[in-house]
Symmetry: C2
Subunit: 261 residues, 2 copies
Amino acid sequence: MYNLDIILTHQDINVQAVKGKACVAIDTLRATSTIITALIHGCPEIIPVSSVTEALHLKKNKAYQDYLLGGEIEGQYIENFHLGNSPIDYCNISLQGRGIILSTTNGTRTLKKLKEARLVVICALLNARTVAEWITEQESDVIICCSGRRGNFSLEDFLTAGRLAAELRAGKKALAISDLAFTAAAFYENIKKSSTNNNTILKILKNTDNGKRLIKAGLEADIEHCSQEDITSLLPQYKSGSIKQLEIPDLKDSMPRSSVI
Amino acid sequence: MYNLDIILTHQDINVQAVKGKACVAIDTLRATSTIITALIHGCPEIIPVSSVTEALHLKKNKAYQDYLLGGEIEGQYIENFHLGNSPIDYCNISLQGRGIILSTTNGTRTLKKLKEARLVVICALLNARTVAEWITEQESDVIICCSGRRGNFSLEDFLTAGRLAAELRAGKKALAISDLAFTAAAFYENIKKSSTNNNTILKILKNTDNGKRLIKAGLEADIEHCSQEDITSLLPQYKSGSIKQLEIPDLKDSMPRSSVI
């Protein structure tokens, strides 16, 4: 029997409360989707940082001098950085053997708050089933940590959290589920139940605050990419300030729809 | 065109952010349900206070010496108080012409945080349709303020908020709805859509953290009472530290099910 709860924004993460717990970090649009996509395309390691200054400082270190710089500030590209926070960027460049220093507004800050957790896995819709399966095997309380945006609830993160909560509820292990985790699971399940086609999740993501902002910035393809469920069995883990994959992806399954079309 | 947003706990209410807005205060289990029930049964005024000390201090004032003392501390009755926070208490006593000083853990604290709002109405499932109709007439942004419990999300408050959001979305006025308000509306609508009978809401309330706590305390009848939708057209308003009804209730409709059964 373990407890399942959800935190809605990285501002709400109480560092002490997550200590020793199994945590899942979610930033569906777009940081965790981007991290997963980079690993799919061969990147062996991502170092998440919470500012451009920190990224540039790290890059000066000999151990990281060959790393690519990626990230965004409030959704905008950063001068002299090799990559943005658009997962599509990470599909169109050879990342075999290239580490990345990644600075993002919300997703990275979520991870930084989880340093005291027993373990942290990175989740987006892209790898949700794998994360759910793996969590089920843990003998531990689970906290799903959504990133949110500017301290506000993000529907796309809650949807991904709901996907996990729904899978965990349907699992074999007894589960003490919080009000919020129940709500998220029911929200996701009902959306799936009332869906007439595969585009329902995409349609919902496009209508979120973040989705509308991305569309306005000409980044609709990012939403399409991030709306794909279970395209990979990758399970990135955040540990000692670094993100590395735990599983070898099935390359046949891991091609993002945006590059296939 | 107006904006609709939801705040999940009274701890999250930013006093400056609600300034000048139309606010709806919700504490489904049980403060706002109790307030509405007291007004249904003839109570002309409720003074919400946030501590027992404050209640006793106010009672010493000549203007309030005839007021009844009501409230709870962490769900428990308070010594020497006339009434608890159980709405059933307020069905079984003559309240005609009797004001009440009400001290509750979460609901009252929500109201205290809303002193700078342009207007504040009190909502529970009992009067949700009336609140929704009235809000639709306001030319103002609307913030639905859930009370939560101990700083945590409460499903029963989110459900009532979702009921309002769903009614407002279905209304005629253009509405800029936040991610959270959309989620709440979809959550409520899907529950209603998948309901096979009238007991779905009750079943869900019984399964919430607060619901389980009340059942353990032998207060299941409170949940049954609070689960009733639209039994009154009362519209209590919180203004200058006092709650009074704005509409004459239809007495035929206002009998709580628990007293009818």
